[in-house]
């Protein structure tokens, strides 16, 4: 017997009692609809939550130079000057897992406006990418500085809320000029408030300027200096040590061979930066990003295989862990709700199919008498159940999708269409049809034709 015939028989069977078929399907429609709506609303919320956690820095990696060492004395991480702005560009260019990267030059000095002064703990020279990495692009006033400002080393800066309060009190700082080490900086924007970070330090007590400006005008250092993030004491002692032991001068990169030098001439002058702040495309891509950055920097710094790296990559393990556990929790919660509603729908189908088998005992007996085999009957009822579930699934997808659309329109909740959920709903509703349709169908196929024919 062709499967097409069975499907046709099953469809005729369903058409004979459209009301019952519709009520049965309603269970699955609501089940699948709930699943789809939950999935879409849930995914939307989940990705909104992920995004806000990510903005706290879960996707962020920090590349810092390695330690300098001379005569067995190490100076701690960040004490070497190995990172360049070109490294930053190379990371951005060659690492597909990296969304954006910002070079950072640190400074710590006094800021003066009129008769007031303040020393912000974080004074960073960077690019616009920094704001992007920290999800800080919404300024509360003014405009951020541009890449052109960075190229030209323009004397512009962005101020954090705390700094504005300390220096300007009630005034608007936009367009005003402040002095940093007697260099005049024009305030172009005010950052939105971020509050304290997890360690309790005030993130609003900050000044941002193009890294070139900070590097060349504020720190005023020659191009190759010790890292500003270590204390000046250590860098001077580094220099002292170098003087004491000639030849112990810390080399930026390992000695190049004559061939390397000929193949790849290197400019003598270069600027170093203190850190590179990197944002991965997503928290899942952090390990990939770390690996790619390591490869790129090892190559650029000509580190032989087996030699230790002259830089360190730090990730926000705590943040990432929070993010992962939140995501897992959300996914499991959604899955749980989905399972419950589908099981309820499935039990509904089984109920009605059992009733239907009892109600149609005579029909089953008749079909058997005219030559239907047990497996024909089994298939007929199974297909009826599966058809109900698939139709219910299709309508449920529409209902769920419509529902989540309405939620988005009227409640402005974040909603995300989830093709996985749709595919899963179709598969699951077919599976529910088979699983819960099987018992009634099996029961029908076990009937004795003689007794079935006599059934009243």
């Amino acid at each position: 017997m062709k499967i097409y015939r069975t499907v046709k028989t099953a469809m005729t069977g369903l058409r004979r009692n459209p009301m019952r078929a519709m009520l049965t399907t309603l269970g699955i429609i609501i089940g699948v609809g709930a699943v789809i709506a939950m999935m879409e609303i849930g995914e939307g919320s989940s990705s909104a939550i992920q995004k806000s956690i990510a903005s706290m820095g879960a996707n962020v990696l920090l590349v810092v130079p390695g330690t300098a060492a001379a005569s067995g004395v190490t100076f701690g991480s960040g004490s070497r000057t190995t990172l360049t702005p070109e490294d930053c560009e190379a990371i951005l260019r060659d690492c597909p897992a990296v969304r954006t990267a910002a070079p950072i030059v640190r400074a710590r000095t006094q800021v003066v406006y009129g008769n007031r002064n303040w020393v912000p703990p974080t004074m960073l020279g960077t690019t616009f990418a920094f704001l992007d990495v920290r999800d800080w692009t919404n300024l509360s006033e003014g405009e951020p500085f541009s890449d052109r400002d960075v190229l030209n080393a323009n004397k512009v800066c962005l101020l954090g809320q705390t700094l504005v309060k300390e220096l300007f009190q009630e005034e608007s700082p936009i367009g005003k000029e402040i002095r940093i080490k007697n260099v005049l900086f024009r305030v172009v924007g005010v950052l939105s408030p971020k509050g304290a970070n997890m360690m309790g330090s005030d993130q609003d007590d900050i000044l941002l300027a193009p890294w070139t400006t900070i590097k060349y005008r504020v720190t005023g250092s020659p191009l190759t200096t010790a890292n500003q993030s270590t204390s000046s004491g250590s860098s001077s002692s580094l220099n002292t040590l170098s003087n004491v032991y000639p030849g112990g001068q810390p080399e930026l990169y390992p000695e190049r061979s004559a061939v390397q030098a000929a193949n790849n001439p290197m400019p003598i002058r270069f600027a170093n930066i203190d850190q590179i702040l990197v944002a991965a495309r997503s928290s899942e891509q952090i390990p990939a990003a770390i690996q790619q950055i390591t490869e790129v920097l090892r190559e650029r710094h000509r580190i032989q295989p087996g030699e230790p790296e002259d830089f360190t990559i730090r990730d926000m393990t705590e943040m990432t862990r929070t993010l992962t556990s939140t995501t897992t929790l959300m996914t499991n919660l959604l899955l749980f709700v989905a399972m419950i509603s589908l099981v309820v729908g499935g039990v509904g189908i089984m109920n009605i199919m059992l009733v239907s088998v009892t109600e149609r005992t005579r029909e089953i007996g008749l079909r058997m008498a005219v030559g239907a085999r047990a497996r024909d009957i089994l298939r007929q009822f199974l297909i009826e159940a599966v058809v109900l579930c698939l139709v219910g699934g299709a309508l449920g997808i529409l209902l769920g999708h419509g529902g989540s659309y309405l939620v988005w329109v009227f409640l402005k909740w974040p909603v995300e269409t989830s093709p996985t959920a749709i595919a899963a709903a179709v598969l699951v509703s077919a599976a529910v049809g088979i699983a819960f349709g099987f018992y009634p169908a099996w029961k029908a196929s076990r009937l004795d034709p003689i007794e079935a024919l006599r059934y009243e």
Partner: protein, 250 residues
């Protein structure tokens, strides 16, 4: 065509064995119109179920068109029913909310040689017009009278061109006039198409339409086991009536 040899059927109600058929032997030749008669509880329904391959005997041989069928599997018997046997029931057993046409075409769904839908419908329509229901093809059973419903059921029994048709109390739910029509239709089918028909009934007026009456009483055949031994229907009927009245065997 049919040859039963020492058929026994015993049902078990828990520990107690209830013998229903106690050594039934009978023959039915091609093209016969036979009535199977007996009071209720005589075992005639059980015998009909075995003859109709719906049930299997506990022991004995059943030869149907030269084939021993008492040992066939459930699926093989289903195939046999589909190809060689037709059934007409007392309560018609039509599918509710389904047109006469589709009711008649239903057994074709289970045939092994596949007809196209159009062919199946054409055959069903043809069969219905033969039954005089050519103008009722798309009526549902609830829109048909009892006699019409039974004629739809007969058309359904004939759709697979069976060689043997069982009619189990075909007139039990009909008034005497429509009963007469239906029975005449059976006679006509028997005479014109040579279809072997077995009427199962307890009603003597129905049995009178058969050319031979097989009497079953208390699980054994008391009369008419083979065509050669048969007396004319009328005489036997009188005997049968007297038997059922007095309860003694002739």
């Amino acid at each position: 065509m049919i040859e039963l040899n020492q058929i026994y059927k015993t049902y078990f109600l828990g520990e107690i064995a209830v013998p229903v058929l106690k050594g039934v032997s009978m023959t039915v030749a091609h093209g016969e119109l036979v009535a199977l008669m007996g009071v209720s509880g005589s075992g005639k329904s059980t015998l009909m179920n075995i003859l109709g391959c719906l049930d299997r005997p506990s022991s004995g041989e059943y030869w149907l068109e030269g084939q021993e069928v008492s040992h066939l599997s459930t699926d093989q018997r289903a195939l046999l029913r589909n190809q060689k046997l037709g059934f007409v029931f007392q309560n018609f057993n039509l599918l509710p909310r389904t047109s006469a046409l589709e009711n008649v075409a239903m057994p074709l769904t289970y045939t092994t040689d596949h007809l196209s839908d159009r062919e199946a419908r054409r055959r069903a329509a043809e069969m219905l017009s033969r039954m005089g229901l050519g103008d009722r093809l798309h009526h549902e059973p609830s829109q048909l009278s009892g006699g019409q419903q039974q004629r739809v059921a007969i058309a359904r029994a004939l759709i697979n061109r069976p060689s043997l048709v069982f009619a189990d109390e075909p007139t039990g739910n009909l008034d005497s006039r429509t009963s007469e029509d239906v029975l005449r239709m059976f006679q006509q089918l028997n005479e014109e198409d040579g279809i072997t028909i077995i009427l199962v009934t307890h009603d003597a007026t129905v049995a009178r339409h058969a050319r031979r009456i097989i009497q079953i009483h208390d699980g054994v055949i008391v009369d008419g086991a083979s065509a050669s031994a048969a007396k004319p229907a009328e005489t036997r009927l009188d005997q049968a009536l007297s038997t059922s009245e007095t309860g003694e065997r002739p």
